[in-house]
């Protein structure tokens, strides 16, 4: 619970640093320091938490060891994110301190979403997470694409918020409560149309935020248009938080009605995997390809919403951790590139072996190749769904789609290792110093560690 307060206060401190500190370096150092504090707080939370669920703020929030672990994983990834990208974040525009502040405010939303107990808090969490992202998407003010991304994200986000509120309202109408744990009772008897419609609207709203098809349409434009320094945050940390909220709500409240809404989730999974993977094939820009790939990855994360069992709970931790790390790695490399097309990666392995290696491992993980975390993430997801009786054709379809993903991920690896280029692939003024490389190696090592010791995320 402390972590919510800590992230909000650190956000305020960082915001003030914008007016009291003059050097960009000082602000960066402060942000890095703040991310370390956040990590420490998360670890303290993990140590304090027992398996019992504890309620806070008159039952608005609830924490247990699972939420504490998830928070710690997210805090850790946030720390890595700040470490890897702080240089690039400063370069986006003039208001560098504000960018860091907004990231911490968004993290407040993230931590609310991992441990809310009341649909008020769900709504607040989603908005606290989303609004800073709207701003961050448009932070490169002089860039038309960035402005476009911000506006589109905002307009469509507002649209989906409408559905979220409507869904909450309908559910309230059907159950008479906002408390997610008390709604679990409504499983008995034939559900009312109001309740079903409410669930549908909640799936729509959360599916939108999680970029599940057919509500994914904003994703490519926003991820592609946003400054590259912020895309990994949106695509990894924010998305995992949304999934945590999604799964928590459906696990605590609607598990009893699973028979009714499973069909919708299956339809969304199939559509998401299909559109994400198939459209990614044709992309020319690696950044845009990654945007589609994040849709495809969301398809895999949705399996956890279907299964809602112990395996999928482990799976979401593992998949989430490996997905966040891999996204961070590949974007950390991408951001140093001069040219975001596939050809831009030509010959990177010769010039920057560390970067190429990190990118390769990240792509292996995203594709789900064994000995990286992504493999076990996918394995747990599919296994959890299978245990819960998902039709076998969906699983086969998912594996086929994962096979397609290998094609477009490996195009990057092929460019890096098997093609040559006369000029440097990286941006001439990109900062590729030793600390950056060390962080990248740590990130890569963690991805491999998750591949050979996957149970580590569940035991700590």
């Amino acid at each position: 619970m402390n972590i919510i307060i800590a992230s909000a206060l650190l956000g305020v401190v960082l915001m003030l640093s914008g007016v009291f500190l003059n050097h960009a370096k000082g602000k960066r150092t402060l942000a890095i320091f703040a991310s370390i504090i956040l990590m420490v707080v998360a670890v303290v939370d993990v140590m304090q938490n027992t398996n019992n669920t504890i309620l806070h703020f008159n039952g608005l929030m609830a924490t247990n060891s699972f939420t504490a672990k998830l928070n710690a994983v997210i805090a850790f990834c946030s720390m890595l994110y700040i470490f890897l990208f702080s240089n690039e974040i400063s370069k986006v525009g003039l208001n560098d301190a504000e960018y860091f502040a907004l990231i911490f405010f968004a993290l407040t939303g993230v931590f609310i979403l991992t441990s809310y107990q009341n649909m008020f808090m769900l709504f607040l969490g989603i908005e606290i997470l989303s609004i800073p992202q709207y701003i961050l998407a448009g932070s490169d003010k002089r860039n038309v694409k960035s402005n476009e991304a911000s506006l589109k994200y905002f307009l469509m986000g507002a649209f989906s918020t409408g559905f979220l509120l409507m869904g909450i309202t309908l559910i309230y109408g059907a159950t008479g409560t906002f408390d997610v744990s008390k709604m679990a009772l409504m499983g008995s008897g034939e559900p009312s149309t109001i309740a079903l419609l409410g669930i549908l609207f909640l799936i729509v709203a959360l599916g939108f935020k999680a970029s599940a098809a057919p509500f994914h349409v904003w994703t490519p434009d926003v991820y592609d248009g946003s400054p590259t320094a912020f895309t990994p945050f949106m695509a990894s940390i924010a998305k995992v938080a949304i999934f945590a909220a999604f799964i928590h709500l459906f696990h605590a409240s609607f598990a009893g009605l699973a028979g009714r809404w499973h069909i919708i989730i299956i339809a969304i999974i199939v559509l998401t995997l299909l559109i994400g993977n198939v459209t990614a094939v044709y992309q020319q820009s690696v950044k845009r390809m990654l945007a589609y790939s994040s849709i495809a990855q969301a398809g895999f994360l949705l399996f956890a919403v279907y299964s809602l069992n112990e395996i999928s709970q482990k799976g979401i931790l593992l998949y989430g951790a490996s997905y966040m790390l891999a996204t961070m790695s590949i974007f950390a490399v991408l951001i140093k590139m001069k040219d975001y097309t596939f050809d831009g990666f030509n010959g990177l392995a010769k010039k920057q072996p560390v970067l190429a290696f990190a990118a390769a491992i990240a792509l292996f993980s995203l594709a789900g190749i064994p000995l990286t975390g992504g493999f076990f993430g996918k394995y747990y997801m599919l296994n959890g769904a299978m245990q819960n009786g998902m039709p076998i054709w969906v699983l086969i379809f998912a594996v086929l789609m994962a096979a397609i993903s290998v094609y477009y991920y490996f195009k990057v690896i092929q460019a890096m290792y098997f093609k040559t280029s006369i000029q440097d692939a990286t941006e001439p003024d990109a900062v590729i110093d030793v600390p950056f490389k060390v962080m990248l190696i740590i990130n890569t090592a963690l991805l491999i560690l998750l591949g050979i010791y996957p149970t580590i995320v569940t035991i700590f």
């Binding site: 589109k152 307009l155 469509m156 649209f159 989906s160 559905f163 149309t193 079903l196 419609l197 549908l200 799936i203 729509v204 939108f208 098809a213 057919p214 509500f215 349409v217 904003w218 490519p220 434009d221 009714r260 809404w261 069909i263 919708i264 339809a267 969304i268 559109i275 198939v278 459209t279 990614a280 094939v281 044709y282 395996i311 076990f376 394995y379 747990y380 296994n383 245990q387 397609i404 050979i452 010791y453 996957p454 149970t455 580590i456």
Partner: protein, 637 residues
């Protein structure tokens, strides 16, 4: 002490990381000694653990140390855990002990090579994987190590990758091993499907319900054996091993003589309980082992490359080990693994010393008279030759004799197998001493320049030779047969807890009397001496210019195995591939695959247009999607 078992593979792993990451940064001294010390540290820990196991009650000495839970899904769980028992600790000592000697030797041997750091990184990675292979307490971990050593072997065979043929040799080894690995993998899947676990202790405990010689157990054991034939270079997958000599000589000594190639033997001995209830598989193993031993020995008699002779000798000796397995004499197999590790490592390192002294020359026709110029190498090589020929009291005699004894007493045809085994043993003595005489006796036949340059190797290289020579002399003491009245057969006692069930199941048809046993030994020794004398009479004045003809030529050409494989498998495959390519592939498969690809691209291209960039259109898609989902929810349900 057993709980520190993780240290044993950890040290080489750290050594690998240091040498691998620092290969361009650290100096040669550090790059050579850090990995060597890592292996030495592992050896010390292994020694302590070995002593610990020795002092424990043999029944309870087997400990499974769980490092962590690898993964756990539903009710199938795989642990990353190590098994410490009599068998694995024995192998630990061989791997780390000989591994250390070879590391030290390599510092001298590779001192002029530019890939020095890379070499040591690979070598340590190999040791790590090999340790994983023997330590794993289930088939999954064993398989990881199994694949790991295959990879390292590939990397090290093709170490001098600038030569095309070396790369081809590496590829050949990799592919041949892959065929075997497939067998292993299928066996593991079969085991999982039947037992729901891959943990050795559980699998072996639950084998009771299986019908002996039933289809399941035959399939499992045969698949495991196919895995072993690949890794341990048995017929028909042995041809990669001679080619593997393309790698640096210490690699041949470590990987392709002492450790990796015996992995197949280890795996079968580890699973001995499964093999004991599959006598049909055992017969097949016996036949394959015998055929391999004979064929490889005949080829070895006519090879002119010093390393090739040793390579075929290794294949032949591995054949002996499989013969032992085939008759259920697992102790004898392990015994021969150990002694063979000593003397074959010695011989390889000795040949490496010769090659080093001759500045890279490997053709024995260009050598001769080296015994005065390279004294230490000569004497240690001589000891190796005596050991492998089976002259008492050197180590090879005891282990080979034990195998022969078991062959003799095995079933009705035991005597026939014994006789064939003796022929192989005779040839062993012959080809080894042929090698010795041609290389070290007579006149120097190389160029003038080489003659001038020939020198004894530095102490870094001769010290390991001396240590291995001592081991080759005394190594047999761990298994002196009871007939000599020196007490119990130590190795047999030691492995008793592991092999107990198999030993009980095995029935010896005709038990030998002590006199009969001594008689057999005497025959074996006489035959070995005959081989040596024949070699002396033929090769004391070797004429390099004489061309081989007839059978000799056939043997020199390695029974034309490579050509036969080329003609029987590779060429027909290519021919068939060509036919398939022009007819089936280009039209049907290409059509289908490209069709899928094109379809994908076309679909991708179509779907791309959904992303028009218009917010209004996006919202339309969303709303349409919501309506569709609502219909799905309310009406199709």
């Amino acid at each position: 002490m057993s709980q520190y078992i993780y240290l044993v593979p950890l040290f080489p792993l750290i050594g690998f990381l240091i040498a691998g990451l620092g290969r361009n940064v650290l100096g040669k001294t550090l790059l050579g000694w850090i990995p060597s010390m890592a292996v030495l540290a592992s050896f010390v820990v292994s020694l302590l653990i070995f002593r610990d196991v020795q002092h424990m009650d043999p029944e309870h000495a087997s400990v499974v140390v769980q490092i962590y839970n690898f993964f756990h899904v539903g009710n199938f769980s795989v642990n990353f855990s190590f098994q410490v028992d009599q068998l694995s600790t024995l192998f630990l000592l061989i791997i780390t002990g000989i591994g250390f000697l070879i590391h030290v030797y390599s510092i001298g041997y590779m001192s002029h090579d530019e890939g020095f750091g890379k070499y040591f990184a690979y070598l340590n990675l190999f040791v790590f994987n090999m340790l994983l292979l023997v330590l794993g307490s289930n088939y999954i971990i064993m398989f990881i190590g199994w694949e790991g050593v295959g990879l390292c072997s590939y990397l090290l065979i093709g170490f001098w990758y600038k030569k095309k043929e070396y790369c081809n040799a590496a590829k050949k080894a990799f592919i041949m091993n892959r065929i075997g690995d497939l067998g292993f993998l299928i066996a593991v899947f079969l085991i999982i499907s039947r037992f729901g676990t891959t943990e050795f202790s559980e699998v072996f405990r639950s084998q009771a319900g299986i019908v002996a010689n039933g289809p399941f157990i035959l399939a499992v054991t045969l698949c495991l054996f196919i895995g072993a034939t690949g890794k341990s270079a048995q017929l028909p997958l042995f041809t990669w091993l001679p080619d593997a000599m393309a790698g640096p000589t210490p690699v041949s000594a470590l990987i392709h003589a002492a450790t990796m190639v015996t992995a197949g033997v280890y795996m079968i001995v580890r699973s001995n309980i499964l093999f004991t209830i599959a006598p049909v598989t055992q017969h097949i193993i016996l036949m394959v082992g015998l055929a391999t031993a004979l064929i490889a020995a005949t080829i070895a008699t006519r090879q002119n490359d010093i390393k090739k002779v040793l390579a075929y000798s290794t294949v032949s000796q591995l054949g002996f080990m499989f013969m032992a397995i085939g008759v259920g004499a697992y102790t004898a197999a392990v015994f021969h693994v150990i002694t063979h590790a000593f003397f074959k490592a010695l011989l390889f390192l000795g040949s490496g010393s010769v090659i080093h002294g001759m500045s890279g020359e490997q053709d024995i026709r260009m050598m001769g008279g080296l015994k005065d110029k390279m004294k230490t190498t000569y004497y240690t090589f001589l000891i190796g030759c005596i050991a492998i020929a089976g002259i008492p009291p050197l180590s090879g005699f005891f282990s080979k004799d034990e195998i022969m004894m078991h062959l003799f007493t095995n079933g009705a045809y035991g005597k026939v197998f014994w006789a064939l085994g003796m022929i192989a043993a005779f040839m062993t003595a012959f080809y080894m001493f042929r090698l010795l005489f041609i290389t070290f006796f007579g006149k120097f036949r190389g160029t003038h320049e080489q003659e001038h340059h020939v020198h004894e190797s530095p102490a870094l290289m001769t010290m390991p030779l001396i240590v291995l020579a001592i081991l080759s002399i005394g190594g047999g003491l761990i298994g002196v047969p009871e007939v000599f009245g020196l007490g119990e057969h130590w190795l047999k006692e030691w492995l008793e807890p592991i092999l107990l069930k198999s030993e009980l199941a095995h029935i010896y048809i005709n038990e030998l009397s002590h006199r009969g046993e001594l008689l057999l030994m005497a025959i074996a020794v006489i035959i070995a001496f005959l081989g040596i004398i024949l070699a002396w009479s033929v090769y004391k004045n070797y004429d390099a210019k004489k061309q081989n003809k007839g059978i000799a030529k056939f043997l020199e050409d390695k029974w034309l195995f490579d050509e036969a494989y080329d003609n029987a498998i590779v060429k027909p495959t290519f021919a068939a591939a060509n036919v398939l390519k022009t007819n089936v592939e280009e039209q049907v498969i290409d059509g289908a695959v490209n069709g899928v690809g094109k379809l994908l691209h076309a679909a991708s291209n179509r779907l791309r247009y959904l992303q028009s960039g218009m917010v209004g259109f996006y919202l339309f898609i969303m709303v349409a999607g919501i309506i569709a989902l609502a219909i799905l929810l309310f009406f199709i349900h």
